[in-house]
Amino acid sequence: MDESILSPRDFDSHPAYVHPPYRSSIKRGPTLPLIPLKEKLRDQRAPVYGADDLGPLDNDLTRNAARNGEPLGERIIVTGRVLDVGGKPVRDTLVEIWQANAAGRYVHKTDQHDAPLDPNFLGAGRCVTDGEGRYRFLTIKPGAYPWGNHPNAWRPNHIHFSLFGEYFGSRLVTQMYFPGDPLLALDPIFQGTPAHARDRLISRFSIDTTEENYALGYEFDIVLRGPNQTPTER
């Protein structure tokens, strides 16, 4: 029987539960120490889903909600590889994204920001990684938008990502940012990440991924927990 466990969650890579500059964390983050639970991998399944659960346009946000035209804004390609901490590609894993439109407005019914909705843009997509762990989305560059955390607070441009990886414990919910965004320095959500790990949240512009006369390309690799690797003696 396989007795493997997951690589320990690297809490040095993640924001703290309570990060006071991000105001809503103050009353919502757990305050007591977590109880260790080293469950075997065989008891930690990721959910079952199949590529046939996905629609043919699910990874193309420029077309998956089009009604009478194309969404407004700058078309971009967002692609990258999903790896585990051992460097192994995570194949056939679900990647779900959601984002604001080019004007910085979310479709969500409670978003009250006074910026226009785009009738041809939902802002949600998903795909399953290929044999090399690669995912690829075509979308519109999301706009910045104001929020109520502090006076004149604006979120940097970002795309939300949700991944499972191979195990229940390798779950990750994160956000991808864009290089050179001046709002990153002012954003308590991004800044809540330990300083040495922040760069991992910023995508990389890539001229190789960019398609001529069509769309700029951004690369964003994602690293999830994987089977624990005990160093082998030589």
Partner: protein, 195 residues
């Protein structure tokens, strides 16, 4: 380790149309629903009902919870075909924003023991606006007192906090409901795990 984990960031307030579209009435197929099992699945059918409370004791209207469990024979499904045939997905996703009282309502069947010595339980992922990193908890059942007493995970929890992990059974007119609230902070702060 060759590679470092990508840091977590909050799910934010606007996840619904991407992650729980059908539950919230958006025009996109949901990959996961609030049902762990359909009515066709084998086993004792039950409904889990609860709320998530913040440190002020207010119910959270924009939390997202995910549930994972074995079926009534102690097994996880392995393929989509198996899920379609049995009605048991073993996984559910629900937001707390569609119920007027901010409750989550999840239909399932009672899990068997996954391993000898483990009490029946459901694993839960808890995240919401205001959490930069998700957390894990577990639901045990109050009518499994003997199994709970022998469970190694529950036994590792300080005795005075174990009650936060145990759902309360309520049976009315043949309908079985288990109540399970999650308290993020405060005197009754739920036990969260470093899974």
């Amino acid at each position: 380790m060759a590679f470092k984990e990508t840091p977590s960031q909050t799910v934010g307030p606007y996840f619904a149309y991407g992650l729980c579209p059908e539950q919230y009435g958006y025009d996109l197929k949901s990959l996961f629903t609030p049902d762990i099992a359909t009515t066709e699945a084998a086993g004792e059918h039950l409904t889990l009902i609860g709320r998530v409370f913040d440190g002020d004791g207010n119910p959270v209207h924009d939390a997202m919870l995910e549930f994972s469990q074995v079926d009534s024979a102690g097994r996880y499904p392995s393929t989509s075909a198996e899920v379609a045939a049995s009605g048991f997905r073993g996984f559910a996703r629900v937001g707390t924003g569609t119920d007027p009282q901010q409750r989550f309502v999840v239909r399932t069947v009672k899990p068997a023991r996954a391993n000898a010595g483990d009490a029946p339980h459901i694993d839960v992922i808890v995240t919401m606006r205001g959490m930069l990193t998700h957390t894990f908890t577990r639901i045990y059942f109050d009518d499994e007192a003997a199994a709970n007493a022998a469970d190694p995970v529950l036994s590792a929890v300080p005795a005075e906090r174990r009650a936060t992990l145990i759902a309360r059974r309520d049976e009315r007119a043949g309908r079985i409901v288990y109540h399970f609230d999650i308290h993020m902070q405060g005197e009754r702060e739920t036990v969260f795990f470093d899974l």
